[in-house]
């Protein structure tokens, strides 16, 4: 598989993290993390569990708070200013490992809730957008069911549609396929690949190497709260520079 030809040299930086530090009590979860993501770029974040990769992408829409350093999203700094946080969250969609669909709302209501309540879009308009998005993720027939009636793969696709309904500029994926049965992983990855090819700026925490090789522009390897290595997928998988990355790759490829 060839890396898609994408010229990012002139693209503006949409996520800029510099010297980010985060602590959980005494535990130093993120250590001086520096990372830039350009518009249209697809960045895959990998690393052993507990390495801080999920914590880092959760800092980007302020689900976690960083204590030191600076995170700029679309030119807005994440601070304690609620207006900034709200503005950033409107532009950043997120997909979670455990889907986190709202179980008391139908699939369509899950998708239309935020556009109607946050963007104040008319119900009929929001439902039209919602049905189009369900078409895009391949499950238009499930619109009126409840999340509990869907398979894991279908739920995760609804979650992607829910995030897309706010027309975000950036999508964050926090291990979107880790809670899925093997036969359902592909249907979710297919949706994510389509999204990547459409030019969406994406940051994905995932171990799906096929996905990373096919659509990622860059791999960021986290260990012990630090960015240890950054490289293109080919370089990273075939010629890792650091010992920690080599060890990690041998462990996930070894079985």
């Amino acid at each position: 598989m060839t890396t898609p030809v994408k010229d990012l040299s002139n693209a503006p930086v949409v996520i800029a993290a510099s010297q980010v530090n985060k602590y959980y009590g005494q535990f130093h979860a993120l250590k001086d993390v520096n990372l830039e993501v350009k518009r249209g770029e697809v960045v895959v974040v990998i690393g052993p569990s507990g390495s801080g990769k999920s914590t880092f992408i959760r800092c980007i829409n302020r689900l976690e708070e960083h204590q030191q350093g600076k995170i700029m999203v679309q030119g807005i700094e994440l601070s304690n200013d609620v207006r900034n946080i709200d503005a950033i969250r409107r532009d950043v969609g997120m997909v979670f490992q455990s889907f986190n669909l709202f179980p008391h709302l139908s699939v369509l209501q899950n998708i239309t809730l935020a556009p109607m309540r946050v963007k104040k879009i008319e119900k009929s308009e929001a439902e039209k957008i919602g049905r189009q998005l369900l078409e895009r993720v391949g499950i238009p027939e499930q619109a009126d069911k409840f999340p509990g009636q869907l398979s894991g793969g279908q739920q995760q696709r609804v979650a992607i549609a829910r995030a897309l309904a706010m027309q975000p500029k950036i999508m964050l994926f926090d291990e979107p396929t880790s809670a899925l049965d093997p036969e359902m992983i592909k249907e979710v990855l297919d949706v994510m690949k389509e999204l990547a090819r459409s030019g969406m700026t994406m940051m994905c925490v995932t171990h799906e190497m096929g996905f990373a090789r096919e659509v990622a522009d860059r791999i960021v390897f986290f260990d012990k709260g630090q960015v240890v290595e950054e490289a293109t997928p080919d370089e990273f998988y075939h010629h890792p520079k650091t010992d920690r990355a080599k060890l990690f790759l041998s462990q996930i490829l070894g079985h």
């Binding site: 689900l63 969250r89 455990s98 986190n100 979650a159 706010m166």
Partner: protein, 393 residues
């Protein structure tokens, strides 16, 4: 092996009552012994009750005092107010029921129950007008059902109930030129229902607010709510009534505050504290991921609470809440302590009449049947709601 499109059907099994009894009642020796013993106990209890009910009981006390059981010392010439409210409530119940069950036929049992109630009223003539007005109320339910099915959106009924509630309170008090009614004249089932409805309707939002307050991130709000909840929960309801009776006038400058209102305040505060703890359990049962997902799509904290967390929390604790409301309904009987004559307490007044001495069994049996009817209606209503809210079918 030959592939077939039709898998073999499950083995045929004709359900008969003999088979059912063998499997469920006499499956082994222990089970058989238990069946015989409990059967004997049930027969003994029912037959003793039946012998008492049909040979010894003096049921005359019930029709003779039916008005008092229902409305206490509500002035007789003002009873039209209660009849009016009853018929409006029956009509609205029918409308609401009909609007919620579009295209469904009424189950047969409702006709049977309606006919029995109407016939019973016609035959016994407990009050001078009840023979006509009770059948009218029954007809109002059915008429409402059929109108509601075609013409009324159920959302309107939610607003209608609020109007009816305040209208009823007005009707039960205000003087229209022919003399008003004072709340101290409310009694019997009427007082029980007014205390319960006000208690449930007022304690629900207060309890939810206390639960949210207790889980709040603001330490002062959380502390105030916690202290309130713990103090009220640490106090018996009877004491709450005394406090409401003795201290509320003291706090409000010795003003002459209506004793029924004081009882309502007591019940509301007491119930809200318990409700708050139930709701708090529900709030904690909602996974953190729900809040994260809501915030991530841009909902504000308040929107997340009202649209995502609270609906799930309340659904999770619905059975507990209904259990508590049934408890509240029955606990209103404790207001006899502060001299109010609700359904359970009114039997004292009836028995103090020399004509009805020694009729405690008949009275309390009837009263418990009335309590049961309302409690059972609440719990079966809640079961239906649970079924409706279940989104995992």
């Amino acid at each position: 092996m030959e592939a077939t499109n039709n898998p073999p059907p499950p083995p045929a099994r004709v359900p008969t009552w003999q088979l059912w009894a063998k499997e469920n009642l006499f499956s082994n020796t222990t089970n058989s012994i238990l069946t015989v013993l409990t059967g004997a106990l049930v027969i003994w209890v029912i037959s003793s009750l039946a012998i008492w009910a049909f040979t010894q009981a003096r049921w005359g006390v019930i029709p003779a005092n039916f008005r008092i059981l229902m409305t206490g010392s509500f002035p007789t010439e003002q009873l039209w107010r209660t009849w009016l409210v009853l018929i409006i409530v029956c009509l609205s119940s029918g409308l609401h029921w009909g609007s919620l069950s579009r295209g469904e036929k009424l189950p047969v049992w409702t006709y049977v129950v309606g006919a029995i109630i109407a016939l019973f009223a016609l035959v016994t003539q407990m009050g001078h007008l009840s023979g006509i007005l009770v059948p009218v109320a029954v007809i109002a339910v059915f008429a409402g059902y059929f109108i509601g099915q075609i013409a009324i959106p159920s959302r309107i009924m939610n607003i209608a109930w609020v109007v009816i509630f305040f209208g009823a309170v007005l009707l039960f008090t205000v003087d229209f030129g022919t003399g008003g009614v004072q709340t101290k004249e409310w009694g019997g089932l009427l007082l029980t229902l007014m205390l319960s409805i006000v208690g449930i309707v007022a304690s629900f939002p207060l309890g939810v607010a206390l639960a949210i307050g207790r889980t709040s991130n603001y330490p002062i709000i959380s502390a105030i709510c916690t202290v309130f909840i713990e103090v009220v929960r640490g106090t018996p309801l009877v004491v709450v009534f005394f406090i409401a009776q003795l201290f509320v006038p003291l706090l409000l400058g010795g003003a002459n505050i209506d004793p029924v209102l004081r009882a309502m305040v007591g019940i509301t505060i007491f119930s809200a504290a318990y409700l708050a703890e139930n709701v708090r359990g529900g709030l904690q049962s909602v996974p953190a991921g729900q809040v994260e997902a809501a915030r991530a799509v841009g909902l504000t904290g308040t929107q997340t609470l009202l649209l995502i967390v609270l609906p799930q929390a309340l659904k999770a604790v619905l059975p507990a809440l209904v259990g508590q409301f049934i408890g509240l309904f029955k606990d209103t009987s404790l207001v006899y302590i502060i001299g109010l004559k609700e359904l359970a307490g009114i039997s004292d007044s009836i028995r103090s009449n020399p004509d009805f001495i020694g009729t405690a069994q008949e009275l309390y049996f009837t009263i418990s049947v009335i309590y049961f009817i309302f409690s059972y209606a609440m719990s079966s209503g809640a079961r239906n709601l649970e079924k409706k809210l279940n989104t995992n079918r």
